[in-house]
Symmetry: C7
Subunit: 93 residues, 7 copies
């Protein structure tokens, strides 16, 4: 299990079937780095003026995040992205 | 549906009929990047000294924003711009 | 109508009759970029330590501002400058 | 009249009779940029932790300021320097 | 004994058996710099708005930290990494 | 008289008899820029979280300061250094 | 006597017998710059949100500090390092 600290969030990549305009399914290496992920774990919160405040995102949320934000880590066989909540732009339903 | 976090705002582009001085309607690629948008969704607010404060803009507002601000995202077929409220300069009625 | 957000102010340029030492009225392009403007609209205020504080300038004030500050925008046929109040140096009576 | 905003101060240059070691009075262009000025007007004050605090300098004070600080402005025929009080180092009696 | 100050944490490296895809165990120099460590000691805490707050990690925790963060020190024969808690991304169970 | 503002301090240089290892007294230009000075005047204090706090140094203190800190000014025939108290490292008795 | 200001600390170098792997004692110039020191004097403390807080280190503590941190000063014949407490990583018992 992986428990992020403070205002950090752990994401796993969301696989998108990616098809070009001409209908060809692209192999992995030709795809753009994904900007969407699913929340696996959230930190205990962050401090605002001395008070601890819970994060806005929840486990299971599908989110859009800033390209290049965060740190990729590998725990066991799985790859995750750990970033600060402030690098998450929006939740997508 | 797309729900921005914190002080972020989701905009969609506002199409302007764009005509040159000589009256020719320009094709898309010859236009300047628009600085106007319509608010699609607003975040839950931002913290000021430990208190959560609602954003000033509202859904449906037509706004002027700083060129190059924000991040372009694609949700389904539609393109949006997600930016912080502080990158919005003014509301235009 | 244009309503600036927060601590922002909308200015319109103040035309100065500009004459060189030799008495020749200069055409537009030979003039220096003006540093004076008239306040058209003021934002709702800014936060100081969690309290909202009204701006110091008022609609109609003639002000001196920092060269290159702010963003030029066009609303309808008119050109405005939107800047933060902190880029305004002084009010001139 | 010129009224600076917030923590800003308006200065006018203090003319110093400037003589070289050999006793020659230097023409204007050979002088160093002066670092002294007289306070013409002071802003309404600045915020410290949410409370408005009056400036330390007063109209008429002779002050030493950081070289290159501030913005030179011309109001009517007169030239002034507008700077933040924090760019003023000391009052000279 | 080593007692970190404030929000600092002392880590020791966690050895991972590192095997390439082809099954060869790599000698030390061919390994990537590890991003995992075990907490040896934690500082007395950090200040949030004037109140001292205990750190989130505890002695014995296995943690993931930002590559290149912190300072390597040698006390006696042993090598440690001292970093700020904010450079620790997550605790791994 | 020279009265520094806020957290600023006025120093005068402390002359040190400077002798090389071989016992030769160095002429002025061969000396290192001094890092010691005597406090001539102290500002009214600085703000810490909205409260004005007196400076730690007093008139007459002999202090060590950061090389290159501050601004050299000339008042009448005398040269002073005006710096922020935070550029003073220690008082030497 | 040397009294550091605020959050500053005065250290003296801790001499380590330094021997290479082959058992040769290195002359002074071949050694690495030491990262350990002994606390000679501590400042009066630092402000956290308007309250003065005592430093964590005490006179006599043996400490590890960031390489290149602080300023080397010479008082009389002795050399000291003056640094901020935040540049001290840990106390070693």
């Amino acid at each position: 299990m992986i428990k992020p600290l403070g205002d950090r969030v752990v994401l796993e990549a969301v696989e998108k079937e990616e098809t070009t305009a001409s209908g060809i399914v692209l192999p992995e290496t030709a795809k753009e780095k994904p900007q969407e992920g699913r929340v696996i774990a959230v930190g205990t919160g962050r401090y605002e003026n001395g008070q601890k405040v819970a994060l806005e995102v929840n486990e299971g949320d599908r989110v859009i995040f800033s390209k290049y934000a965060g740190t990729e880590v590998k725990v066991g066989d799985k790859e995750y992205l750990i970033l600060r909540e402030s690098d998450i732009l929006a939740v997508v339903d």
